[in-house]
């Protein structure tokens, strides 16, 4: 056993175990924390596979941003999971059927891998071994896949427009901070110096 293999088993074991705990733990916050653990270990596996850029982007995007917001929501919602779980059993047969179908298909995919390995191995973009993978990614994203890259950008733009248009409400009568006015205010606008004769008051 080599060192990378050893780490591969550690990462995948923790990953699978924490994935299980995501659905098994009773406390939703713990579930999210286990989800994060699973993400981190998946990033570790990416790292071992030599995809260091993907691994770190997975951490930055999913763990550092998405899961934080997710954790937020779960912490603030008072989710009663006992209540949610009540209707679960009646959907169980469907879930089992779907699960079996997907499982069989996965088996088929894996099976064909053993039977005709040359088909599955034929990658659209062979990787040049000498190039570090951040550079390799950059070289195809902005040339060969520029169309998809830009299209994905437009999809995100639509998501942004959607999020804003569906949630932003301009409340009338809200006092907002105007930095320019604050900075532009002079002492004479705010303070009046009055000479007070002693014993008289204003």
């Amino acid at each position: 056993m080599t060192l990378p293999l050893f780490f591969f088993y550690i990462f995948s074991a923790i990953c699978i175990a924490s994935a299980l705990m995501v659905i098994a733990s009773r406390n939703p916050v713990h579930s999210v924390l286990f989800l994060i653990l699973a993400f981190v270990n998946a990033a570790g596996i990416f790292m071992l596979a030599g995809a260091e850029f993907l691994a770190l982007i997975l951490i930055v995007v999913y763990v550092g941003a998405v899961a934080v917001l997710f954790l937020f929501v779960v912490m603030m919602l008072d989710v009663d999971f006992a209540e949610l779980g009540k209707g679960m059993l009646q959907y169980m047969p469907i879930a089992i059927v779907v699960g079996i179908i997907f499982g069989l298909e996965l088996l088929m995919v894996a099976g064909s891998w053993f039977i005709t390995p040359e088909v599955a191995g034929g990658s659209v973009l062979p990787i040049d071994a000498g190039v570090e993978n951040t550079r390799a990614l950059g070289q195809v994203i902005y040339t060969r896949y520029v169309y998809l890259f830009e299209a994905a950008g437009i999809v995100l733009l639509v998501a942004m427009i959607g999020a804003i248009v569906l949630t932003l409400r301009h409340k009338p009568g809200v006092r907002r901070q105007d930095i320019a006015t604050q900075v532009g205010r002079r002492p004479k606008d705010a303070v009046e110096v009055v000479k007070v004769e002693s014993g008289k008051g204003i």
Binding site: M1, T2, L3, F6, N27, V29, H30, L33, I36, E52, F53, L56, I57, I59, V60, V63, G64, A65, V68, L69, L71, F72, M75, M76, G130, V131, E132, T134, R135, Q177
Partner: protein, 365 residues
């Protein structure tokens, strides 16, 4: 067997056992850890001293000469106190939170090059690694705040999460502008790029190497990065997660003794990390400010530490004399000021590089 032998060679190596082929990883890591912790102990003291000096006080001055052992006294005090865990707390998460904070803060140091070739792991995606690890730092705060099962900590945690996620965005963009100039994600390359190109070379005075560093051409980004680093590490004036006037101590209200100390330690390690990152990205890392004798006889590590100290001095001064931001002001600054500035700067930098053909090409494979 072969596995154990390789692992032992890699981890332990030459010293002591004499069976390896290289200096063991463990020793390097230990050396870095001990140095770092000692450094942090004095950084903590310096922080308090500077703050005191601004307020015309003496600061800690009892333990040891000029209070030099104050941090160690504090350490003793925290360690020997009884850890208290609130009855309603989620015990596991409550204790995990400070551990996470410390571990993450320390692990980011693995890729920091203190001098040429002195990084524990000189990986190709070093800057991305630091960025990823520091984006995880928020979990310590959220977990601590939530697990305390109390209102102030939870509010502090919510504030902190929003704050750190917001400022991470502008930090990311700032890093991108530097990367555009360098063309590599490797931290060593970033420093080398500042040695081999820049304003001083262009002016024909290559010995004035401080002009080469990125702080000058990317000055707006330098400022944005410095301020975002303050926000990212929850330093004043952005210490809203623990604002004592509103939230008592924020997410740390329920913590005491060793767990509290670990939070504190993690926070300061992260602060020093941000200082180191500022040094590497904008202040030429281990390079001497003037490339002339006797300045370039001084080892690079010394320059590095001096620069880190300088940046930390700025951190400490900001803490001493800038009043705390209000929460909406903080968010406004992050999203409405820094984000547009840094996005515009990315365009500007990319345009300039494209038009002039500047940029470092040493890292090209």
């Amino acid at each position: 067997m072969e596995f154990i032998a390789t692992a032992a060679d890699y981890l332990l190596g030459i010293p002591f056992l004499g069976l390896g082929t290289q200096i063991g990883f463990v020793y390097k890591a230990l050396l870095l850890l001990v140095t770092l912790l000692l450094f942090v102990a004095y950084v903590l003291l310096a922080d308090r001293k500077i703050w005191a000096a601004v307020q015309i006080r003496k600061g800690p001055n009892v333990v040891g000469l000029f209070g030099l052992f104050q941090s160690f006294a504090d350490l003793m005090k925290f360690v020997f106190k009884e850890p208290l865990i609130p009855a309603g707390a989620d015990k596991t998460v409550f204790l995990l939170a400070p551990l996470v904070t410390v571990l993450l803060a320390l692990s980011a140091w693995a890729v920091v090059p203190i001098a040429e070739g002195w990084a524990l792991a000189d990986i190709n995606v070093g800057i991305l690694y630091i960025f990823a690890i520091s984006s995880l730092g928020v979990y310590g705060v959220i977990m601590g705040g939530w697990a305390s099962n109390s209102k102030y900590p939870f509010l502090g945690a919510l504030r902190s999460a929003a704050q750190m996620v917001s400022y991470e965005v502008s930090i990311g963009f700032v890093i991108i502008t530097v990367l555009l100039c360098v063309g590599s994600l490797n931290l060593t390359h970033i420093v080398q790029a500042q040695q081999e190109m820049g304003l001083a070379h262009w002016l024909g005075i290559p010995w004035a190497s401080f002009l080469n560093w990125f702080w000058l051409p990317l000055f707006p980004m330098f400022v944005v990065f410095f301020i975002s680093a303050l926000a990212e590490t929850n330093r004043p004036p952005f210490d809203l997660p623990e604002a004592e006037s509103e939230l008592v101590a924020g997410f740390m209200v329920e913590y005491g003794s060793t767990p509290y100390m670990m939070f504190m330690l993690g926070e300061y390690v992260a602060i020093v990390l941000m200082c180191a990152l500022t040094t590497i990205l904008f202040m030429g890392g281990w390079l001497p400010p003037l490339d002339i004798p006797p300045l370039n006889w001084v080892p690079g590590a010394v320059w590095f530490i001096l620069k880190v100290c300088l940046v930390f001095f700025m951190f400490a001064m900001v803490k001493a004399f800038v009043p705390r931001y209000r929460y909406d002001q903080l968010m406004r600054l992050g999203w409405k000021v820094f984000l547009p500035i840094s996005i515009v700067m990315i365009f500007v930098v990319a345009f300039v590089l494209q038009l002039t053909g500047w940029g470092w090409h040493g890292g090209m494979a």
